[in-house]
Amino acid sequence: MNPKQLACVVLMMFIGAMTYFAQIVHKKVGTMKKSATMAKQDATTAEGSRQAAEILTTRTKVETEELRRFLQAWVPYVDKAQTEQEVESTIEFSLRDRGITLVRSRKTEVKASRENKFIPKSVLTTVVIEDEYAKVLNWLGDLEKRLPMARVKACRFTGGSSARQLRLDISLETPLINLAGESAAKTKKKA
């Protein structure tokens, strides 16, 4: 092979290498363009999802506003009755405040509920009092006002030891609500 032929071969090899390199670069550009298009599509999809999430959140916020306001209104009362002692002292204070002197019996026990994490405990109180008709009824009203979340499970009014006296046997359940806990509905969903 003479030098001229050799020079031609070298040039042709150079041309080939350049074409090959240009092709590789072009392919890479194509791949990058595809990736960019995919990324744009993903961004558009994400924007759609964001809009959907925004709509859903706003709708939930509007639909549940009344309920959430209701909860906020009850939070102070929930905070007031968080322990057995707080419930007992409220009843004690109410009895003293209303001048109920004859308390025949008073019993308190704590009932625990493992399933309900929102109301894990409740205080069951049984009180038997005897006093004048008006005082007894006013005391009951006062107690229900002081412990608005307490549920009167049973109450029985009967005649007292004298004609003017009224006897009241009452048992009430006060929930010790754990606002940090999950609601029962959520617990059921998980199960």
Partner: protein, 183 residues
């Protein structure tokens, strides 16, 4: 000096190598074309690559922003759902914790002075806590007095369900389930 002139350089010489065929003369042209074309296309490709890369990064950033926003919104919704669940739970509890005192006062007030109520019991149902079981015993009462009690209960938005009354001598016994009526 010799008279003989040497024209050594002027003597025709044969080629040291063979001439290339004519078609091979295009090879250098093709080389230049490839050089210029390659530079042009590769520059264009390089620019397009950079542009696509920038677009991809920008789109990925936008996607990331959207995803962060979605996550925040999802967390907000989860918090709202949790709060709503708690509110429903409290509402359900409160539905069964309506005050009993106004009921007992209303019943006591509906009694005429000559009638004596000897026993009044109000019990809450375990299954449906908003329902109350009422039982009372009145001495010297009549069916009219029971009607008065029922009307006083109705005024407090309770409906008397399956009421029963019996009279033994002077004593009238009345039993009923009180169901809360929503307005």
């Amino acid at each position: 000096m010799s008279d003989y002139v040497c024209h050594d350089f002027k003597t025709p010489r044969t080629d040291t190598s063979k001439r290339l065929p004519n078609s091979f003369k295009l090879v250098p042209v093709a080389f230049y074309v490839a050089l210029i074309g390659g530079t042009y296309f590769m520059t264009n490709d390089w620019l397009a690559y950079k542009r696509a890369q920038d677009e991809k990064v920008a789109a990925e950033n936008v996607k990331k922003d959207h995803e962060t926003a979605i996550q925040k919104l999802t967390e907000e919704k989860t918090a709202l759902d949790a709060e709503t669940g708690k509110a429903q739970e409290v509402a359900r509890w409160m539905e069964g914790a309506r005050n009993v005192q106004p009921l007992s006062v209303a019943i006591a007030r509906s009694m005429p002075p000559e009638v004596r109520m000897s026993d009044l019991t109000i019990e809450r149902s375990d299954q449906v806590p908003s329902n109350l079981s009422l039982s009372l015993r009145i001495n010297g009462g009549t069916a009219n007095d029971v009607a008065l009690i029922e009307s006083s209960i109705t005024r407090l938005n309770y409906r008397s369900y399956s009421p029963q009354q019996s009279k033994t001598g002077d004593v009238v016994e009345y039993r009923s389930t009180l169901v809360r009526q929503e307005q």
